[in-house]
Every structure is written in structure tokens, then in C-alpha cells.
């Protein structure tokens, strides 16, 4: 069972928002999309498929209402209830009906695009939906990696451990020569838990001050007098422990970033979409 879960990456042992009620809303979304496609092919629209035909208006109205409903998740999720319209059911419907919007709204356009507010609204909608897909992907894959990486540590544990190592470093560095003290001080001072956004997502910390300091002191210890070797090795060992802890912490930050970043596109762009959608609807009837 555990192997199965691991390989699929999906938490199938319990019912999540994706497989809620045996993929009920996936089925609903597929049926809705299929009906819309068949209607598009069969509808007698004069003179070409277009947002302004009776079928175009119908698809547009349904899509606009759907967008408003999808955005209500932001309000709905702040109020916990259970049962038929549990948050899980709501989220499941949000995901699948939101994806079906890609079909409905595309058919609404009649495949007519241009550099105008109408296509702007469509483009923003596509961005919102695609960012949602990204979010679903990370929701399905990241949490497992994240708990593996955390190894039962809380975030506070990680920070406390780093602080403790810093204290140890300061004490252990007391007997060292000033130039090595500077190395240790720099390593402590320049510890950046949180690299830049892109570096964080890429998962590489090329310039970790702690790792660099550990390398330097290990080399120094190899060449030092027997008398100075012990304190240097002691400091090096602490630096290496800290380096490993930093790696784990940064991985944790990366995981948390992946889980949140898409929302920083999904939410603001959906508000931009709301404005563009309003402008789209008003403009087409203003110049009817």
C-alpha cells in the first residue's frame, strides 16, 4: 500500500479533493464540456461561430457565472462546514468545473482572438486556470517530499537548531586565530536561509557561506600545528553539521514556496480577470 502511494504520488489512501466521491465533479465537468462541444458543432449559428450568436451568448453567460462562482471559493474556504457542500466537495468542484471553463470559454470565443479587452479577459482566464493546474500538481507531489525532508522537525525546530549551532560555533571559535575567527564570523553573518526566489525554486544554493567556511577550515586544519588542529577540526565539524541543516531547511523553504507560489498568480490574476471580464461584458453591450 505504502509503495503504491509513493509511486502514484497521489494520496489515494484517503479521499482528497481530487478523487472526491469517486471523481464526481470530474465526470460532471467532462459531461458539461462534451455537451458544449456537441452544441458548438450542431448549433445553427448565423453566420459563423461567434460570441454574439445565441449559442455564444449562452456559453458566455454560463462561463461568466462560473467564474464568479469559482472565485467564491476564496470566501467559502474561510467558513468551515461539512456534509454535502463540504469544503472538500467545493474544492473538488472548483478544480474540475474550473478546468471545464477552458472548453466553455474557448468555444464562446468562436476561436476569434485579437489584441483587445475581450481576448485579454480570455488570456487572463487561461493564466488563472493553468496556474491552478500547477497548484494541483504541487499539491499532489510536494507534501510527501516535504514531510520526508522535514523528518518530524517543525519549522521552529529548524530555526532553533540553527541558532544552537551558531552558539556552538561562537564558543568553539574562541581559541582560533583572528583570521579564522573572521571566516567563522562571516559564515554566521552571511548565512542566508532564504535564497532568491529563482534560486530557491531551482533548489541550488551555489554560494552557501557555511559550506565555504567548512571547506576552508578543513583545509586549514590539515595544515595547522598539532596544537591548533583540534579546535579547527571542532569548528569545522560544527560548520558541516550546520551546512547539512541549512540544506534541509532550504529544501523545506523550496517546498513551501512551490506550494504557495502558484497562488500568488492564481489569486491576483483572477481578480484582474474579474475586472477584464466586467469590461468585456459592458463593452460588448455598450457598443452592441
Amino acid at each position: 500500500m505504502a509503495d503504491h502511494m509513493r509511486s502514484s504520488g497521489l494520496p489515494i489512501s484517503h479521499e482528497g479533493f481530487l478523487n472526491h466521491k469517486g471523481f464526481r465533479y470530474l465526470k460532471v465537468a467532462l459531461v458539461v464540456s462534451l455537451i458544449a462541444i456537441i452544441g458548438y458543432l450542431a448549433a445553427d449559428v448565423r453566420l459563423r461561430p461567434n460570441g454574439g450568436t445565441w449559442y455564444g451568448y449562452s456559453l458566455g453567460a454560463i462561463s461568466a457565472l462560473l467564474i464568479v462562482w469559482l472565485m467564491l471559493l476564496g470566501i467559502r474556504k474561510r467558513a468551515m462546514t461539512s456534509g454535502h457542500w463540504s469544503l472538500k466537495a467545493w474544492t473538488s468542484a472548483h478544480v474540475y468545473l474550473g478546468a471545464s471553463l477552458l472548453v466553455l470559454a474557448t468555444l464562446h470565443t468562436g476561436f476569434q482572438f485579437g489584441w483587445n479587452v475581450h481576448t485579454l479577459a480570455y488570456g487572463l482566464m487561461v493564466v488563472v486556470i493553468l496556474s491552478g493546474f500547477v497548484g494541483i500538481y504541487y499539491y499532489a507531489t510536494v507534501p510527501r517530499k516535504m514531510s520526508d525532508n522535514r523528518a518530524h522537525r517543525t519549522q521552529k525546530d529548524m530555526l532553533d537548531a540553527i541558532r544552537a549551532l551558531n552558539r556552538e560555533l561562537r564558543e568553539a571559535a574562541q581559541p582560533l586565530d583572528q583570521k579564522y575567527v573572521e571566516v567563522v564570523k562571516r559564515a554566521i553573518r552571511n548565512t542566508k536561509l532564504k535564497p532568491g526566489l529563482f534560486q530557491s525554486i531551482a533548489g541550488a544554493q551555489r554560494q552557501c557561506a557555511t559550506t565555504r567556511a567548512a571547506k576552508r577550515l578543513r583545509k586549514a586544519a590539515a595544515n595547522a600545528d598539532p596544537e591548533m588542529r583540534r579546535p579547527l577540526e571542532a569548528v569545522t565539524a560544527i560548520l558541516e553539521r550546520k551546512s547539512a541543516l541549512l540544506l534541509r531547511t532550504r529544501r523545506h523553504i523550496r517546498n513551501k514556496t512551490l506550494l504557495q507560489l502558484w497562488l500568488y498568480i492564481h489569486v491576483p490574476i483572477s481578480f484582474a480577470l474579474l475586472a477584464a471580464l466586467t469590461a468585456h461584458i459592458i463593452s460588448v453591450f455598450f457598443y452592441w
Binding site: R48, L159, R163, R170, S200, I253, A275, F286
Partner: protein, 605 residues
């Protein structure tokens, strides 16, 4: 002299603990190294950072070691002499150090207090800052509002405000320009090329906000556009909504998409290819099963060119003498024969030996126009648009061979006028009278006066004169009889309706040649002359021995190419390929969709 060092530690509740050490010497070393007199445990403190030497009861010297520095009253110094009563503050790393005279006279008191955390902890930011998106992206809520406002202002508020602002002629310039620019973001698609000049002027069609483009707006330019037919006839022809059409019809009604507007058929903002719909269904709605709804119609039901379109019914001349000229539409199914008053065998002209021999007798410059034998284009030319064939003119197309010359001398050929029998008589009379006059003048010397002639000579002269004029009349009559006789030059092509003469002239049948056999359709000959297609591909002239033959091709000839039923080559075969919707007949009323709509609302639905 001695030195007393006191480490001060402040406890919660204001308690202070002091840990004193007394040195019986004049100087103490300060540093991180354990063998320093004053041990300062912090990495910012050097191993052997500084030395304090008491110089007198009231003075001490502070010396930093090597590259180290000490901060005295805020200034970084290497070496400084300090008065013990000055109250100066010395800082080394996180430690605050003060000097003063000790209670024990002559001694120096050094008080040391740790005033900062041993080392600033750079990573002691709060957990939230580290493990959230802070610093990576602006706040979701803030950016949502910024984007929402930005789009609402640029794409909604600005166009609306500027729509009304720019309307005011008092504020041209910037407002109007901005209105144009922002309005363009509302443009749903590029305009038809015929309306391209209106792209920047939305209000020329969209007169009132939130009101559909009115027919009046269209008709303000297209003022002499004619309707398709009589509104009541069209009303009768329109089908009731039924079956699968009920839902769309109800929706159109619910969404107030009125039918029978200009905009019901002419969709703008769908690209440059035009607002003229080519959807055959628009026509078929009424013309399929037309006779069942509109029983008075003379039109045949049509639903598809390839499968359900009647055989062509060309406009046939049955009586060339009818005045005004009239034609009758007769289906090619009935193999109509035409009586256009002209005798013309196409087969003869296209391949007969006699025609070839005749061509050989023509002067070289004339012959160059025809070549060795005649073909269609020698007589039939298309008009400037390449659409229809120009009418045949006798003088231009026939007279090179069918000459109307009646007399020729070395330097002159006399031709009869074509088409004017009375003129023919006058020309001949003039010609023969001139001949007689010349004869008489040649007989009389100019110098001789009439009265000088003898009576006999005068009598002879009178006889001669009478004879000459009688001959002239006789020649004229003979010539006319010959020209108009059964074998005469006219009768080669024309019928003689009435052999009884009027002023000695026969009545010839008028010739009524048709230039537009299918007047309700438009056809372009030039467009069709491609590939292997020649005139005779469609018009079977080579085998036509009589001008009674109607050489219009059957619809099956068109369908060889124009057949867009499934699987066939899709050459345009919709209604508008050949027909127009807006009638050009001046008897059809002017376009007035509103009139029909009001008829509809009071009519049968």
C-alpha cells in the same frame, strides 16, 4: 597604585551583581585569549585586543594591539589617554567599559558590562519571514487590488468616460485621441474592408450606448438599398420555428436578438473578408418549401444548387415585333426555340468552306483580325468587367464579310446604311440622280447659252434630261427590289415580314438579341475562361444550324464543377455566387427592415 576590575551583571528586578578582581599592577590586558587579565568572551574581541595602563591617580592610557581598534566616546582610536574623572565610555565589541578613581586612594576602577547580545544573531528573523513567501512576491491581496483597479480604469472607466467626453465638440484633441485609442481595445475584430474607414469611429454605427446598431444607422449611408421582395410576400414566405430551431429561436427572443435587422445577416467585426454572408441557409430558410407557405409564388423551391435547383429558364424572345420588346422565361427542359428576327447559322460560320474562302478574299489588313477561320471571339467580346458578352453590331461584327457596298470606283466604295430602309432609298436615289446630273452636265458646253440653241437641239436636250431622270428612278427601284428580294443582301440575315411595300420598301422583322439570358443571376465569362474551358465547352454553337437554337448551357453543365455536396471539389456554389439579395429592380421597395418587423408583430406570429 592598583587596578580593580568589576564585571557588572544586571539581574531581573534591578538587582546588580558585581564580580570584582583586583590586580596589584599598573596595567591590564584585555582580550578574548584566556591568559588576558580581563577576559572578554566574544568573537568581535581580539585575542589580545588592548592594554590599559594607569599613568597617574587621574589618568590612564588605552592602547589597542596590532590592527585592533577601540571606540572611545564614539570615536575609533588606536591609542588614547583618558582622564579617570572624565566619565568617558570605552567600547570593545559588545562590552562597555568605564574608568574612574577607585575608593582605595590612588587605585583605578574599571567597570565592565556586557551591553549587547554576545554576537548579533543574523538569522533570528521570525519564522514567518523565513518560511513564507514574504520577500518573494508582493502580498496577494494588494496585487489583486492593484491589477483589478488598473484593468478597470484602463479598459472600462477610460473608454466609457472618454466616449462621453469626446462627444463634446468643445473638447477635441487629447480626449478625442485617447477615446479613439482606448476604444480600439474594445474592437472585437477587424472591420470589413468596405467599412475600414469607420474603424476609428465607433459611434458612426453604435449611435446610442447599450442599443443595438440600428437599421437607420446602416441606411444613413446605404440609402438607396432595395429590399429583396415585397415585405408581405417575404412575411408569407418565412417559415415558422419548429423542431430543433425552437430553442435557438426562444433564446434569440429572450436575448432580444431581433430578426430581420440589417445586422441579422450582416455581421461586422469578423475580419476583412466582408459583411456579406455566404451562408446558403439564410436563403434556404424561405426558398425551401416556399410554395407551401406562399402559394401565390411563381418561384420554384430551391434548397441546394447541386441537388435542388430548377433548370435554368432563360429569357426567350418569342415575338421580335412586340413593342416594347418582351421576353418569356422558358425552362431549358422544354427546349425552347427563340424567334429573335435574325437568320444566323452558327455552324456555318464556324466551319464552312465558303466562310473560309470568303475570308481569303478579304484585304490583308482586315483578314489579320480573323485568321484562317472564324472563332467565337471574332464576334463575341466580353464587356469591360469580363462579365457579359457585348451586343453584336452589324457594322462591327458582320460587315467585313457581309458588305453593303453597292457601287465602287477606283477611289471610292459606296455602302448602304444598315438598319434604316428609308435611308437606303435616299442614298440610292441620291446616287443615281447624281449620276444622271453628271451625264447631263457632260453633254452641255458651259459657254453656250440655252437661248442660243436651236429648237431642235432644245427638244433633244429635253428628251435626254427626261430619259436621264427616268433611268435614275428605274435604277433606284431595280436596286431596291434586288437588295430586298428573296436573294438580296438584306434577306441573308433578315426576315421580310410584310412583302407589301411602304414607299416601295419592304417591312423587315426587327432583330431582338438578348445580352442577359438569366437576368436574375450574375455571371462572369472572364472568370470561367481558365484551363481547358473554351466558349464551346458550355455553348454548343458548332452544331447549331439555326438562330432559333438557345445556346445557353443547362444547369448540369455548371454542376460539373459547382457541386459542393459531400466529397466533391468545393468550388463556391452558394446562392450568392450567382444571385444577389438586394434586388436592383426599381419596382422593389427600398430596404426597410423596420417596416417588415412591424408587419411581423401584427402579422401571423
Amino acid at each position: 597604585m592598583g587596578i580593580r576590575v568589576e564585571f557588572i551583571k544586571r539581574r531581573p528586578g534591578g538587582r546588580i551583581t558585581v564580580r570584582p578582581t583586583i590586580y596589584d599592577k599598573k596595567d591590564v590586558t584585555l582580550g578574548r585569549a584566556t591568559d588576558c587579565d580581563v577576559f572578554l568572551s566574544d568573537l568581535r574581541v581580539g585575542l589580545y585586543h588592548a592594554k590599559l595602563t594607569q599613568l597617574s591617580a587621574n589618568k590612564a592610557r588605552l592602547e589597542a594591539n596590532g590592527d585592533h581598534r577601540v571606540r572611545v566616546d564614539g570615536a575609533q582610536v588606536r591609542r588614547r589617554e583618558i582622564g579617570l574623572k572624565d566619565g568617558s565610555t570605552i567600547r570593545i565589541g559588545p562590552y562597555k567599559i568605564a574608568l574612574s578613581p577607585a575608593d582605595n586612594k590612588g587605585d583605578m576602577l574599571i567597570t565592565i558590562e556586557l551591553v549587547e547580545e554576545p554576537t548579533p544573531v543574523r538569522d533570528k528573523r521570525d519564522e514567518e519571514a523565513v518560511f513564507t513567501m514574504r520577500g518573494y512576491a508582493p502580498d496577494k491581496r494588494a496585487s489583486a487590488w492593484v491589477l483589478l483597479s488598473l484593468i478597470a480604469i484602463v479598459f472600462l472607466a477610460a473608454p466609457v468616460v472618454l466616449h462621453f467626453r469626446a462627444k463634446d465638440p468643445e473638447t477635441p484633441g487629447l480626449a478625442a485621441h485617447l477615446a479613439m485609442t482606448t476604444n480600439q481595445t474594445w474592437l472585437a475584430g477587424s472591420m470589413a474592408s468596405s467599412h475600414a474607414n469607420l474603424t476609428e469611429d465607433c459611434r458612426s454605427c453604435h449611435v446610442t450606448p447599450f442599443e443595438r446598431v440600428t437599421d437607420a444607422a446602416c441606411l444613413s449611408c446605404h440609402e438607396d438599398m432595395r429590399d429583396h421582395a415585397d415585405p408581405h410576400a417575404m412575411l408569407a414566405a418565412m417559415p415558422d420555428h419548429k423542431g430543433a430551431d425552437i430553442v435557438p429561436a426562444a433564446l434569440r427572443k429572450g436575448l432580444s436578438i431581433p430578426e430581420r435587422r440589417c445586422g441579422s445577416c450582416h455581421f461586422e467585426h469578423n475580419g476583412p473578408t466582408g459583411v456579406i454572408p455566404s451562408d446558403a441557409q439564410l436563403c434556404v430558410d424561405c426558398h425551401d418549401e416556399l410554395d407551401q407557405r406562399f402559394t401565390e409564388t411563381t418561384l420554384v423551391n430551391v434548397s441546394n444548387f447541386a441537388r435542388r435547383h430548377p433548370e435554368f429558364s432563360p429569357a426567350i424572345v418569342l415575338d421580335p415585333e412586340a413593342e416594347p420588346p418582351e421576353t418569356t422565361r422558358i425552362s431549358l427542359v422544354k427546349h425552347p426555340k427563340e424567334n429573335n428576327g435574325l437568320t444566323f447559322p452558327h455552324d456555318l460560320h464556324l466551319k464552312d468552306e465558303e466562310v473560309i474562302r470568303k475570308l481569303e478574299t478579304l484585304p490583308a489588313n482586315v483578314r489579320a483580325r480573323y485568321g484562317d477561320e472564324l472563332d467565337c471571339a471574332d464576334c463575341h467580346e466580353t464587356d469591360a468587367a469580363g462579365a457579359l458578352i457585348k451586343p453584336i453590331e452589324m457594322e462591327e461584327h458582320c460587315s467585313d464579310c457581309h458588305s453593303l457596298a453597292f457601287a465602287a470606283s477606283d477611289d471610292e466604295v459606296r455602302n448602304l446604311p444598315h438598319g434604316e430602309p428609308t435611308e437606303v432609298r435616299r442614298v440610292l436615289e441620291d446616287f443615281y440622280l447624281a449620276q444622271a446630273t453628271n451625264l447631263l452636265l457632260g453633254d452641255r458646253p458651259d459657254t453656250l447659252l440655252e437661248r442660243q440653241l436651236s429648237a431642235e437641239a432644245r427638244a433633244r436636250r429635253e428628251r435626254l434630261r427626261a430619259q436621264a431622270f427616268a433611268d435614275a428612278k428605274k435604277n433606284t427601284d431595280e436596286m431596291i427590289a434586288r437588295i430586298f428580294s428573296e436573294e438580296g443582301v438584306c434577306r441573308k440575315c433578315h426576315d421580310n415580314v410584310d412583302p407589301a411595300t411602304r414607299q416601295g420598301l419592304p417591312e423587315l422583322t426587327p432583330v431582338r438579341l438578348t445580352t442577359h439570358y438569366l437576368p436574375m443571376a450574375h455571371f462572369n465569362h472572364a472568370d470561367h475562361m481558365t484551363g481547358n474551358i473554351k466558349c464551346q465547352t458550355c455553348h454548343k454553337a458548332e452544331t447549331s444550324a439555326s438562330s432559333e437554337d438557345v445556346l445557353m448551357p443547362s444547369i448540369t453543365v455548371c454542376r460539373a464543377c459547382h457541386d459542393d455536396t459531400a466529397g466533391r471539389t468545393a468550388i463556391a456554389s452558394d446562392c450568392l455566387t450567382c444571385h444577389s439579395y438586394h434586388d436592383e429592380d426599381e419596382e422593389t421597395p427600398l430596404m426597410s427592415p423596420a417596416g417588415l418587423r412591424s408587419a411581423m408583430s401584427g402579422g401571423r406570429r
